[in-house]
Amino acid sequence: CTKGFLDTEPITELTDENFYRTTDDAYKALVGCYDGLQIVWAGGVSLPVATEILSDNCFGGTGNSDGFGYQMLDEFDRLRSPADQNLFVDNWIAYYKAIYRCNMLLGKLDGIEWGNKADLRPVYEAETRFIRAYLYFDMIRLWGHVPLLTEPSNENIPQADPNEVYTVIANDLKFAIENLPATSYASQPTATYGRVTKWAAESLMGRVFLYYTGYYKQTDLAGVVDRSAALNYLEDVINNGGFSLVENFAHLWPASLENYVGEDNKETVFAIKYTFTSDYDGNTDGNHWMVMFGMREQWSFPYGNGWGGATVNPKLWNAYNRNDSRRTASIIAIAEEGINFTNQSKQREYTGYYNKKYSPLVDENGNSIAVNKGGVNFQIGQFQDYVSIRYADVLLMAAELGSPNAQTYFDAVRRRAFGTNFSAQPVSQSAIMNERKLEFALEGIRYWDLLRQGVDVAASTIAESTTVLNGGQEVRKTISAGKINETNGLQQIPNNQITLSNGVLVQNAGW
């Protein structure tokens, strides 16, 4: 039809009608999916923070006059902060936005003119499906019952049976494993660090297998992957992935300053990457959640100031053998390091311990390193990647799944931690679980490791009654096992999404 006076078109935007045509469009859309994954925790409560609070590693913390949302998480008690009915809503929305991007791209792959680049198609599809699986795995663990969409839809969709979700996750990962090239870490071009690899998919499959079979007490992963297949994937990563452990545990983390081995090191199997370019004009590339871990409004070189969330439970500090190098590499200890922290009056649930692995950093003058790099400020400018799967995890998972080399893998992890003080321990399920607690403390893994041993195990491990300092004053802190059991370890579905769905979405028990 002819163009009339009233027909106008956007100049600086495309529409879904004229996009998804070329391989370049496909690549941009794929980057859009990575971007979707990058921003799931830009607002709301991030899983690395939330799961540490949910676990026995951390308390809620935050400012002394803040709302009690983090205490509600910590104590699994809705009445602790009745106003926080939508604590996770930003995340819920962001996860589905990211899934929408993936589903859109997957649905448009057939329409793209691949030409002589047809070999790109399975790779792009594999990466997209990995991201979708990663997103759903976070969601199903956190909320337990979520609507499942494998293509875009604005229908009011009820929550799916968890098995269906795991079937999609398993099949997505399987596709990724089968279609991504077996390029070892050493031969991967530096510029592609951060892209999903075959090894990332295999490792995530191992993690999904262990969680699903543990939490749901099943023998295989939704009929897609059995135990030996899961182990084979992990052994493939160990044998062909080209990864190895960084020699000194402390050097894995930026707080080791000049000794830090850097991001995308030989132990990083998969990371959600961040950088300092976040701003208030809509750029969301930064690590927006790490500021929560910083000490409440006070810096002490090299540790930066933050909001004092997820204060570390002294039990965790005490769980380490004093010869274990992971203790001081993982935890900022105010008294032990002689830090002059004076801001107790602004800190809730002060324990004397903070997260070191993901602490904001400052220079000697207290200037945020993020800002020195060019970040807008210390809140949104943090740029440390979230290392989701480390090679140490692959080793311990393989050991747990009964690898013939279980003892070797187990020893490798412990030998690094203890160095010259290493003495061997026989590998066993309980020894592995204990080791995982120490190895992955404050990395957002502990809570899932507890839950997969059963809700009751998680509940009794997390429950405690102790004292903490609120605004410098001693108060009783109680986390009861009953509350955890009541919720099955799942979190609250954002209430406004339930309202919006007109009750099609159903709230989890205990909330």
Binding site: L6, F19, V31, Y34, R101, N283, G374
Partner: protein
């Protein structure tokens, strides 16, 4: 009989009046005055002459001698024969069937305001006008007959026929009249743009055969803060902080000795406000005309300094050039003319936005312990404070953060051609232009004021943009009578509108020079750090409209009146199928006083007209392309590889499409009357209206599973019902003339049909202070933007009172409360305090808006008083950032609870602000106020000087914002600041200054 000579002038401007009828009383003998107002008539001494002229009061003069006489005629106020401006035309006031109101230019200029809209305040019923900020040059919030939408509720402005949404460029002195079209029938001729009402502005034009008249008008004034807020001084602050610590079970922060030595500290309010900020205006205008051409032209300079921060931070400067002229090209058949105004604006300003963007807010929160300067006279760096390293000198923050300079140029007007080939038939075509160019720069120096307030790189921003709107209108009208008594006026027309524009903006760091003057991008040296560089440019979304409209006016003997209009609008903002909106209206009037049966009332009722109207108007104010699903590239990146800051661009579809999007519609019924009583001394206008705005264009939340932002949809409505009354009485006692005007409006606002599951459009979080919760809503059955929170019922005075506050089961309702905490009302009676107890605790929409004016003159003296007010609305006051326990308080905190019986309204001090973190009626204040906005006293020396080339030499003195009567304890109860659809929120509002000024009006 002998020849009596004389001259007739107007009392108003001392100008001669040509064409005045001069009759000898009791005879048929009479003549008219000539071009210069002179007359000569043969009459006898002892007879009386009667002078009459349309728009002037009749005057009778008895001849006591044959000497020449000079007669001055008073203009009648609100004469029924006068014409008022309606959409695409004019109409006699007595034949108007809709609800519209006219304010004369004189009544606007008298207010001596920088902004014409501010002068309109209180002058018209049904029009609520409030400043969005007291900062010079900031816009006004104009609401006609209640808020009708959660989107932009401001009216359409039509200046000399050209549509616009901003008239701040106008020099009030250039305005001949402003006509407010309130009901749908009056506004429907503007169809798609008129849902929020229409304000027609007519600028001054010359008159045919008018002798040249030159005027110089000036004023100069000094402005200052009208009412200050008192914050705690250092001593009081320390005592209150200690009390907070003690209440938290800690040791006090300050010893008694320390407190004794503290003194007053820095009083930040005193640092922020500047006294004697200058405001001035000079205008030079000329107008006149021959039989062939008329002209009116002016030049004006206006400037106003801000009272916050003073001239260097907050200042407004405007240059206006205007030329309106019309030329008779051919025998009164073809006429050509133009209206053109060029405006040059220069301004800089401080932040007057939300809590993060409000320069004044820091002064409310920073403790008096922070010094203003260090020993070297630099702004104090509080980074190493022993008290609170996080707080920064708010004056310095404002100073560093608002180094900016903006200027814009606007050319606005039209060129038109009128052809009248035969009597009654008229064709008019016009091409309107609204051309804008703007430029702005800002500079942020390197500084350090506190642990959080610092800037490590000097930064330069530079922006430029331009845009233009073209409007091409064609009108054809035909006026004819059938058998004299049936009067018809038919009009059809078309209008085509097109907008386009573009802008470019950039930012970079590391300035060579350390000041605003040199803040140009070429002076920024950073070449390597791409993340700190911005370089962008984009076209504005194009906007186009096509409209066809028609109007039919009919009246029978000026007694039975009928008016019908219809407009069809097509807009590029909607998809093809829904592009066109149709807006009909009909109205009727009955002049009862013309009827024979009304003869008996003639002795007291001069005129009475009953009116009724119904119509629909529309709104299409959404961004372009909302009906499409865009693929966004902006801000969509991921970082691959191990180089920080190196981004790979991506894309994703960001919003669902809705091709069914259509016009928002406002439908209104109006019934009213106009009456004139007591020998034309008293005018009454009354209106009742019922306005429903439906099919709002709103972006409602969609289910997250949809995965993209929700599309705009049509849904939700709001009903405004109200009555308006305007009274005007004028009379004289000898040479003392006076008039009193009074107007008032009652309006009720109610929302319905919100298309979400819970029937609510939720307000935003994080508005009142950091991490604050939702506090306003649009909800079915409630007024738009009502305040939603807990009701409180006093303060727990004792432990016993806490323990006796139990529910039916005997459990404590507020188990964690302590004496001094607030008692919340368990509204739903479920025995606990929770979300469901939150209810409507305030309404930002006033029930009543009103105004009055008094004018008087005696010989050369004149006096004018203008006042306006609102009643029945509530304000939310939130100055303090409660997440910081060390934020300062206003002195209102001195009345806090600190022991049984000490207060039942202000809770105790707690460091966690537990009584304030939940939004409750503690934040709510009544917003009623009456403001005497202008008092002016003038004297015309023209009567003394008596030079024939000087018509008027008036000197005047005025006080603007003279008195405000209110119980509200903030600096200014008139808070037009709105965040989304949350209005009436005082976050540290830039108050309107009080101005003392003197001025002159000289006419040659």
């Amino acid at each position: 009989q002998q020849a009596i000579r004389g001259k007739v002038v107007s009392t108003e401007d001392r100008l001669p009046i040509p064409g005045v009828s001069v009759k000898i009383k009791g005879t048929a003998q009479g003549i008219s005055t000539d071009e210069n107002g002179n007359f000569s008539i043969n009459a006898n001494v002892g007879q009386s002459l009667i002078f009459s002229y349309i728009g002037m009061q009749e005057k009778e003069v008895k001849l006591t001698s044959a000497a020449p006489i000079n007669v001055a005629l008073e203009p009648t106020t609100g004469n029924l024969d006068e014409v008022v401006v309606v959409g695409y035309g004019v109409q006699q006031k007595k034949l108007i069937t809709g609800a519209s109101v006219q304010v004369k230019g004189d009544d606007i200029q008298k207010q001596s305001t920088t902004n014409a809209l501010q002068a309109l305040q209180g002058q018209t019923p049904g029009v609520q006008i409030s400043s969005t900020s007291g900062q010079p040059g900031e816009s006004m919030r104009v609401i006609i007959r209640g808020v009708g939408t959660i989107a932009n509720a401001s009216p359409l402005y039509v200046v000399d026929g050209v549509l616009t949404n901003d008239i701040s460029y106008l020099n009030p002195n250039d305005i001949a009249s402003m006509d407010v079209l309130k009901d749908a029938a009056s506004a429907a001729i503007y169809g798609s743009q008129a849902a929020n009402g229409v304000i027609l502005v007519t600028t001054k034009t010359g008159k045919s055969d008018q002798p040249a008249q030159i005027s110089v008008d000036t004023y100069t004034g000094l402005q200052k803060l009208a009412r200050k807020i008192d914050m705690l001084n250092a001593k009081q602050y320390a005592i209150i902080m200690n009390e907070g610590a003690i209440n938290a079970g800690k040791v006090p922060y300050f010893t008694n000795e320390e407190i004794t030595n503290l003194g007053e500290g820095t009083m930040w309010m005193d640092e922020m406000f500047k006294d004697n900020a200058l405001t001035q205006n000079y205008s030079l205008s000329a107008q006149g005309g021959s039989t062939k051409s008329t002209y009116s032209t002016s030049f004006a300079y206006t400037s106003q300094e801000g009272i916050v921060g003073g001239k260097s931070l907050s200042n407004y400067e405007r240059f206006n050039y205007r030329i309106n002229s019309e030329h008779n090209l051919y025998n009164d058949i073809i006429r050509l003319g133009e209206h053109l105004t060029f405006t040059y604006l220069n301004s800089n300003g401080i932040g007057v936005g939300n809590q993060y963007n409000n320069s004044l807010r820091g002064a409310f929160n920073t403790s008096p312990l922070v010094p203003m300067y260090d020993e070297e006279g630099n702004f104090y760096d509080n980074t190493n404070s022993s008290w609170n390293t996080g707080e920064a000198n708010p004056y310095a923050t404002m100073y560093y953060g608002n180094q900016n300079d903006r200027n814009s140029q606007r050319l606005f007007g039209d060129v038109y051609l009128i052809v009248e080939p035969m009597k009654g038939l008229r064709f008019r075509t016009s091409l309107g232009l609204d051309y804008n160019v703007n430029e702005s720069r800002s500079f942020t120096p390197i500084y350090r004021l506190s642990a959080y307030s610092f800037n490590d790189f000097s930064r330069i921003n530079q922006n430029m943009g331009k845009n233009k709107s073209l409007l091409w209108d064609n009108l054809l009208s035909y006026t004819f009578d059938i058998k004299d008594d049936h009067h018809f006026e038919a009009m059809v027309g078309s209008s085509a509108f097109q907008y386009d524009g573009s802008s470019i903006w950039g930012a970079n760091i590391n300035a060579v020079f350390n000041d605003l003057e040199h803040a140009w991008l070429s002076n920024a040296t950073n070449a390597n750090d791409a993340a700190q560089m911005t370089l962008r440019g984009a076209p504005d979304d194009a906007d186009k409209r096509m409209s066809y409209f028609g109007r039919l006016n009919y009246n029978y003997k000026g007694t039975y009146l009928l008016n019908a209009t219809f407009r069809a609008d097509g807009s590029s903002r909607f998809a093809r199928g829904n592009r066109w909106g149709y807006f009909p209206s009909i109205s009727a009037g009955w002049v009862i006083s013309n009827e024979a049966f009304a003869e008996s009332t003639k002795n007291w009722l001069d005129f009475f007209k009953l009116r009724a109207s119904w119509g629909q108007v529309g709104n299409q104010r959404i961004d372009a392309f909302q009906f499409m699903s865009p693929v966004t590239f902006l801000n969509t990146n991921y970082i691959f590889g191990n180089q920080e800051g190196v981004l790979t661009p991506g894309a994703y579809p960001s919003r669902l499409s809705n091709v069914n999007l259509k016009w928002e519609t406002s439908q209104q019924t109006n019934i009213g009357f106009d009456a004139r009583l007591l020998q034309n001394r008293l005018d009454i206008a009354f209106d009742w209206y019922d306005k429903i705005t439906k099919d709002w264009l709103i972006q409602v939340p969609v289910l997250a599973t949809a995965g993209a932002d929700g599309p705009f949809i049509n849904g939700g409505d709001v009903k405004n019902t109200g009555v308006e009354l305007a009274l005007n009485y004028h009379d004289h006692i000898g040479e003392f003339n006076y008039s009193v005007g009074l107007n008032g409006t009652y309006n009720k606002n109610k929302v319905g049909s919100i298309p979400t599951a819970d029937g609510i459009i939720h307000g935003a979080n994080n508005l009142l202070f950091a991490n604050s919760g939702e506090f306003y809503r649009a909800q079915n059955g409630f007024p738009i933007g009502y305040f939603w929170g807990y009701k409180t019922n006093g303060i727990f005075q004792t432990e016993d009172e806490v323990n006796s506050y139990r529910n039916a089961n005997g459990t404590l309702i507020q188990p964690s409360a302590q004496p001094g905490d607030v008692r919340y009302v368990d509204v739903n009676g479920d025995g606990q305090i929770g979300e469901t107890d939150k209810t409507m605790i305030g309404n930002p929409n006033p029930d009543f808006t009103y105004g009055f004016s008094i004018t008087a003159n005696y010989k050369g003296f004149d006096l004018a008083i203008q006042a306006s007010g609102v009643a029945g609305n509530q304000l939310v006051q939130s100055y303090r950032n409660h997440t910081d326990p060390y934020s300062n308080y206003t002195t209102a905190i001195l009345d806090r609870w600190h022991g049984p019986g000490s207060s039942n309204t202000t809770p105790r001090i707690t460091e966690d602000a537990r009584n304030w973190t939940n939004f409750s009626d503690l934040y709510i204040h009544d917003g009623d106020f009456l403001r005497v906005s202008t008092i002016t006293l003038g004297y015309d020396f023209g009567k003394i000087i008596k030079k024939n080339y000087l018509r008027k030499v008036r000197l005047f003195a005025s006080v603007l914002n003279a008195f405000t009567f209110t119980k509200y304890d903030g600096m200014d109860p008139e808070i037009g600041y709105a965040e989304g659809f949350a209005s009436g929120v005082d976050l540290g509002y830039y108050p309107r200054p009080r101005t003392f000024m003197i001025g002159t009006n000289i006419t040659f």
